[in-house]
């Protein structure tokens, strides 16, 4: 066997192997970077879901508050109207008499 030949072959084989090792690392790197996009999307989706849940929670709470407010407002309105009605009953007679007096009194 020609030692020199075999030596050169060994070196060539080593180079090839070296190249393969580096390429493998480069491929792994590209794959890893692609993963970055996928994992980012996953995290973002989780974040969005969290925000949405919080939003819905706040929404439900505030609509509950609104409902209570509306009821309170309605009640206050009814009370005001009842008060007016009773006040009207109090003054109605006097008002009618006053109006009749104006109609039947003539100042010439």
């Amino acid at each position: 066997m020609d030692t020199r030949q075999s030596g050169i072959q060994q070196l060539l084989a080593a180079e090839q192997e070296a190249q393969r090792i580096v390429n493998e690392a480069r491929n792994a790197k590209m794959a890893r970077l692609k993963q970055a996009k996928e994992e980012a999307e996953k995290e973002v989706a989780a974040y969005r879901a969290q925000m949405e849940a919080e939003f819905q929670r706040k929404l439900a709470q505030s609509s509950g508050d609104s409902g209570a407010n509306v009821k309170r407002l309605e009640q206050e309105t009814e009370e005001k109207i009842e008060h007016l009605k009773s006040q009207a009953e109090n003054i109605s007679h006097d008002v009618v008499q006053m109006l009749l007096k104006h109609v039947t009194t003539v100042k010439n």
């Binding site: 690392a25 980012a40 005001k80 006040q87 003539v106």
Partner: protein
């Protein structure tokens, strides 16, 4: 060099080549990890910021809508109260209108119409007032058919009272016996249509100037004039 040395050298060179490759691969791997983290972080942060803004906007819209709804409800309730006030005041006027009918109510006993003395006097004063307003030498007078006799009984006295006050000749008053003011509501004429509670309407002979001195017209005027005061006594006690 002998074969063994060459072989050894070759072996070393091979090792060296492979080692270098491993080191390079390692560097690549480390930089891959770093770049992965940076890239992922940037992507996530950029998207998160957008999402935060989106939800801020959504919440603001909800806030605004809530405010508008509340404001609308507040308005609706205010209108309800104002409407109630208005209705109560109007019903007082209606009560007065009903009472007004008693002022001129004629009692029919044995087909003879008896009138209140007060109403007779009121008619006379209304005629004088209308004459004073018109200041015309010749006028047309319209009343309800049921009031004609009363009117005619006080007409001359009214004309003279006016003449004395204005220092003029007594005016010529023609009582319209063709067209009468509508009658008071009764069982035969319920007050769905037009009716008149009493009083008179005078006009210049050419019909251009009219003085409406019916009790109904006077009630309208009295009501409108006193509306602020009526409202004050009604609203006054209501907490704003």
């Amino acid at each position: 060099m002998d074969d063994a040395d060459v072989s050894k050298q070759i072996h070393q060179m091979v090792q060296f080549i492979l080692q270098e490759a491993e080191e390079k691969a390692n560097e690549i791997s480390i930089s891959a990890e770093e770049e992965f983290n940076i890239e992922k972080l940037q992507l996530v942060e950029a998207e998160k910021r957008k999402i935060r803004q989106e939800y801020e906007r959504k919440e603001k819209q909800v806030e605004i809508r809530k405010k508008i709804e509340y404001s609308m409800q507040l308005n609706a309730s205010r209108i309800k109260v104002l409407q109630a006030q208005d209705d109560l005041v109007s019903s007082m006027k209606e009560s007065a209108a009903k009472e007004l009918l008693h002022v001129s109510h004629h009692h029919h006993i044995l087909n003879i119409t008896h009138h209140h003395r007060a109403y007779k006097h009121l008619l006379e004063e209304l005629i004088v007032q209308s004459l004073l307003r018109l200041k015309e030498p010749a006028v047309l007078l319209r009343c309800r058919e049921e009031d004609v006799h009363v009117v005619e009984s006080v007409l001359e006295s009214a004309q003279e009272e006016y003449a004395a006050k204005e220092n003029v000749h007594p005016p010529n008053v023609v009582v319209d016996t063709e067209v009468y003011l509508p009658p008071a509501p009764s069982d035969e004429h319920p007050d769905h249509g037009r009716y008149c509670s009493g009083g008179v309407v005078l006009a210049s002979i050419d019909g251009k100037i009219v003085c409406e001195n019916t009790l109904d017209a006077r009630l309208d005027v009295a009501f409108r004039k006193n509306l602020p005061e009526i409202r004050k006594s009604l609203y006054g006690q209501v907490a704003a």
